[in-house]
Amino acid sequence: MELLRHDVEAATERRMARMIVYARAGTTAFLVVPLAAWDRLSAPWAAVTVATVAAVEAGWFARRAWRTGTLHDPLLVWTDVLVSLIVMVVGSRAAFPHERNVVMTSLLPFSLATSAVLGFGLGWSRRAMAAVAVLAAVWTASIHPNLTQKLLSDLLGFTLWFLIAVLIGRELRDLAGQTVLAQRLAEERQELLADYKRRQEAMRQRESAHRAIHDDLLPIVERVAGSPTLDPPTARAARRAAQRARRFITGEQATAFADLMAEVVESAADLGLELTHVLRVYDDPPPEVGEVLASAAREALNNVARHAGNPLGVHLYVTAAGDGVTIVVRDRGRGFSPDLAPRGGGMSHSFAAVERHGGHWEIDSPAGGGAKIVLRWPGERR
């Protein structure tokens, strides 16, 4: 893309440089004209000198501009200005004072080209305008004392050639810039489109994999899992397989903590619990806190399985975000009053670990029956 930008804009610069090279070469030819009236010149050798210097400069100018391909070249521009001033000052000395206008008419095209060089090379800048002013002033001084109305049109010429060059330069460079922009947009669009198609394809493949699992595998596995005639270990394995498949298909929240809690959910099936769960993980707690919370949740579920009789509607709620983790284990079994909550053994051990990490827990007996165990870790102090 950068290469492209370079290509279009550099090519435009190169063309502009060549246009000026042609103008510089063409206008140099006019300097030979005064030599045709050799006898009427006060200093014919001055005219020869000017023509020679100008021709040498034009040659140097052409070679340099051709090679560098740009007019943004201070040496090129200022040399041209200098030579132009020399041509004016020395060239005007070739004629008798009252005939300077005639000689200077032949020198005018060469000097006007310098205005154009300034316009292309320096653009709309103070330096360029100052240089044009100097050209005009030296031009006036050189013609002195043969001042006529034609001087006004000469000075207008310096100004207009400069302005026209500035404007043409701007137009051409704008055009190049727009071409580059259009190409860049087109390329960007191509990339975006390719990216979109890649994503679509990936999504399509994922969908077809999901569909195969969802349509062909899951219903069978679930039916098997729910079959009353199945031996318990196989039923358990089938339930786990179904849960894994669902988690794979929904593809949600594949964080370390979410995985950990999903394992807790799966292990609940092994306890014979018919568990519903809500697991929303936005931000993981630190790994060690996650481990401790998962152990505590596991213990809470173990406890439900052991003590709550034939628990119905056991529900595990887990949410983890920047402001901490909340785990609720809810059952509608026999329930146990808070003062009957076991103080020793695994439960208090893993719950104590929650407290050690800055969390807390409570056991509640809601009016609706059963028990509600809440584990809360408040997040890291920041």
Binding site: L185, Y196, R239, T250, T276, R280, H315, T319, V328
Partner: protein, 292 residues
Amino acid sequence: MSGPTPPAGREPASPTGGEPAPSAGGAAHGGLVGVVDDHPIVSYPLADALRLAGHRVLEPVTAVEALPAGRPGDVVVCDYSLPEGRAGGEAVAYLAARGWRVLATSGVAGGEQVLGVIAAGAWGYVEKRFTTHREYVHAVGVVGSARRYVSPLLAALLLEDARTRPLTGADLSPGQRTALRALAEGDSEQEVRVALGTDAAGLEAALAGAFALTVRRRRMNRLSPRELDVVAVVGCRGLGLKETARELGIRPGTVADHLEAIKRKYLASHPGEKDLSPRAAALRWAMELRLC
């Protein structure tokens, strides 16, 4: 008034052959229950379980288009992934427009898809489970009696929706948040009502309000006609700011503003998408909305 012959002009699809009784006994409600699921292995046992609970259940179908029009009070349990005909939110909207109260269900829909069916007009959502039909029977009873069924998962998702797509105006009230939070944690409706100190109608109003907000959240992220114009020009034709501005007769700054909004709405309606340039967002919209 009513003679011995049933009045003409009724739907022929009556499950028991007779004229629907104005009120059914037990836990069942008065209306019919439809089941749409592409797996007979799922739909027939479910239909049986619902019949056993006293509901009058139509023969399960595999596409929403195969159901007759619903009448007030009719409930349909509709699977999210249906290979035949309409599926997902589109299927729910179709059924709702045909007069059914839709209880959406899926074992594979992600959170966004679940919220999508709620926004499409579902009255509730049940996660597919393989061990029991108890939740379905309960949920159909709830929806049949013109109440929303909010499962713990749906409650959590409604809260999550408020978190990822906050509304600038009125969002979930503290009461609604408390109710949803309690439902997500596994509290029963009875317990939630007690905790909120409200009656069944009060809780239903709160839940219906929460459902309406999911619709509003999605409407908020819909593109305006002008934004659609910008998406078409920038996304499909790949024009730059200035050209787009010229094309649409507006200022380039305005185009840039539209593009920002287009990006914001894309990100807001596609959770999980992260950094995206406005132009990339315009292209994605254009492809998604099939504007090119």
